[in-house]
Symmetry: C2
Subunit: 398 residues, 2 copies
């Protein structure tokens, strides 16, 4: 295909050339000092982005593997978990618990809404045996930011209840200070804010969670975090690690450290606000009532004649006609929403590319759309952000 | 470090530049047709190297993850497994079974020996409830080739016993025709003969094994092969796959297909024979009594004064003084053996590099060694192999 392609999906997200080139280096052996040094630097970088004094664990697997690691290491036979969910990724916690025979109390909210901390509090009171609360930081199927901070406060008021947060599409994009908030297990993956290809997953545990891990009797081997912790304290891994991805991870973390956490968070915030403003200016309706800083879900557009456009057809049109890849809806939201990512190695012109491709596509497909209008709305926000960022950088130098 | 480095370990093995560059391409989204095409081509290539009519499953994980997938998908609560082992990787099958509460009957042989098919036959007869036999094709901790062909025959004479073979350090290096032999589950990883960095694991099941999979009641989610099979039949994966590694996999398989199975197997065989001849010519003693085509284990050398050299010190000397990375012994063999790999992207000059680095190192460390002698022994075999390979290629053209 000769058309220039733009990957603007919520994972995999674009990988910087600098990281791609780091990963293209000849492979190192994973039990040698040269690799241990890289591995330890990567773990230190992860601890920085996790904002934890602990050592996050690197797993060779998808984000789902790290989610499974949380369940099988923190729960025991006969335990009950509370799962607070309002989307496909939240439902995965329920499926994982069920696969291991863990009873679940579900606190649901409709797709597009955030879960309700008061309902979680009520369920914890009514079910005193609950051992852990599982939830998302960002529900990327609906573009909803979940209220894990409020839940952390609730959970800490309870006795011996752990808070497990899936931050696969969140960590490194906005401020989630694990230790300060008191999150007990925080999960993420390589292919989102960390700007890597998929393949690695990460999990950090609080001391309280490590104590629980020691008592857990669910079956596990590959995902046994005690085995990994022991190996990783010595700069090795229990099983052969994804060497090239870990070399890339160190490089990606170095780039993120150069940018700095406040700047990273401000960038994601600005891109999210610009996206929402652009979509609204284009006459579209946002799907999430608690919109996230990393992915914006938008309801299916209507044509000038009032008929609704299937969002899968819209996504296909953007890709086929303009080479711009965004994603549609998952599960029961298929065809009914589309999603614009602003997560990871994204800058203002990625968002503007989506805006322009979308304006042209909406026109192609028979919508009433004023070309340039959504772009203008995004530009207002993006230029204000750059101005502020420049001022901040200049102030920091003085 | 400014010294040129040579990675000559049994995994990770060297990755061809062509594969490194393929993996350095910008990442594709895993739910899009362009990736599905690559994914399907990679699966077809795997089926070719597995010599199976089925579709091997691609997992995001280490080889151990695929081993665990075999256990949790093929066994059920209360089942008994026979594990035939004589090394660290064989012992892993026992640990995996125990982690999931599967009873094991162990048929062991001393390190350096192959397991005994007659002993396996006897154990199967004495324990009619055994549901599966777990073993290795190659025990890479000792450099032993295990007799899985003989075991396949035995197992097929029994009713409802599956044969599960870990071929992580074997598949693609010598002829293991899965369907012809009747292997029910065949496991491998990306970082060995398949010439990739670590990060992907593969497992293929026979129809008999798929039938067993449907009945298995052990807990599983991330490694549930039924979920993966359903997704992978449509050119997708259940969980976000290692996109860049799969792009590399297709490239590596294309290179292997260009070489052709007979040439690949002849190359590994020649490199193994050359290594063994060289080590013997250097006055060293081979550790394995059933040596493998992919890794040669050698006993600790003796100095001129009769004292034994710790192999960890030898390995460190090769790396520190000459930049040549080989590996020592694992577990109780630590310090007592060293291992030379000839697995994957290896050619004659890699083996000759090891021979020369070893000759110089043995001299440095005070052994009686005639420089050039082990090299000459290897050269004899390698030149005969090249001559034959050229004649074969020329005959094939006619």
């Amino acid at each position: 295909m000769s058309m220039k392609q733009y990957l603007l999906t919520p994972g995999p997200t674009p990988v910087p050339d600098r990281v791609l080139l780091a990963m293209a280096q000849p492979v190192l052996h994973h039990r040698m000092p040269a690799f241990s040094k890289i591995f330890n630097e990567a773990v230190e970088g992860l601890a920085w982005i996790y904002q934890t004094a602990g050592r996050p664990i690197i797993l060779n697997g998808s984000g789902t593997a790290a989610m499974e690691a949380a369940v099988v290491n923190l729960m025991s036979k006969g335990d009950t978990a509370l799962v607070a969910h309002s989307g496909k990724f939240g439902e995965r916690w329920v499926e994982l618990c069920k696969a291991y025979g863990i009873a679940t109390v579900e606190v649901k909210a409709p797709y597009g809404d955030a879960v309700d901390p008061a309902a979680i509090d009520k369920a914890l009171t009514e079910n005193p045996g609950i051992k852990a609360v599982f939830m998302q930081a960002n529900e990327s199927s609906t573009g909803v930011r979940q209220p894990y901070e409020a839940v952390a406060k609730l959970v800490h008021a309870q006795k011996d209840v752990l808070l497990v947060v899936d931050a696969v599409s969140a960590l490194g994009a906005w401020d989630i200070p694990m230790d300060t908030l008191g999150i007990d297990a925080l999960v993420t993956g390589s292919q989102k804010a960390l700007m890597l290809p998929p393949g690695l997953a990460f999990i950090a545990l609080s001391e309280r969670a490590w104590a629980r891990q020691q008592k857990s009797d669910l079956p596990k081997y590959y995902l046994n975090l005690a085995t990994e912790r022991k190996a990783q304290q010595n700069g090795e891994t229990a099983w052969t690690p994804g060497v090239s991805l870990i070399i890339g991870l160190r490089e990606a973390l170095a780039m993120l450290e150069e940018e700095g956490l406040p700047a990273i968070f401000a960038r994601h915030d600005a891109l999210a606000r610009a996206t929402r403003a652009a979509m609204t200016a284009a006459g579209l309706e946002l799907f999430a009532r608690a919109p996230s800083p990393t992915v914006t879900a938008i309801k299916a557009p209507k044509k000038a004649d009032g008929t609704v456009i299937d969002t899968d057809a819209l996504v296909k049109h953007l890709r086929g006609t303009y080479g711009v890849s965004i994603v549609g809806g998952q599960g029961s939201m298929k065809g009914q929403v589309f999603r614009v990512a602003h997560l990871g190695y994204y800058g203002p012109f990625d968002i503007l590319t989506v805006c322009t491709a979308l304006e042209m596509s909406l026109k192609d497909l028979g919508c009433n759309v004023e070309l340039g209008k959504s772009v203008a709305a995004a530009e207002e926000i993006l230029s204000a952000w750059r101005k502020q960022a420049k001022a901040d950088a200049s102030a920091a130098k003085k």
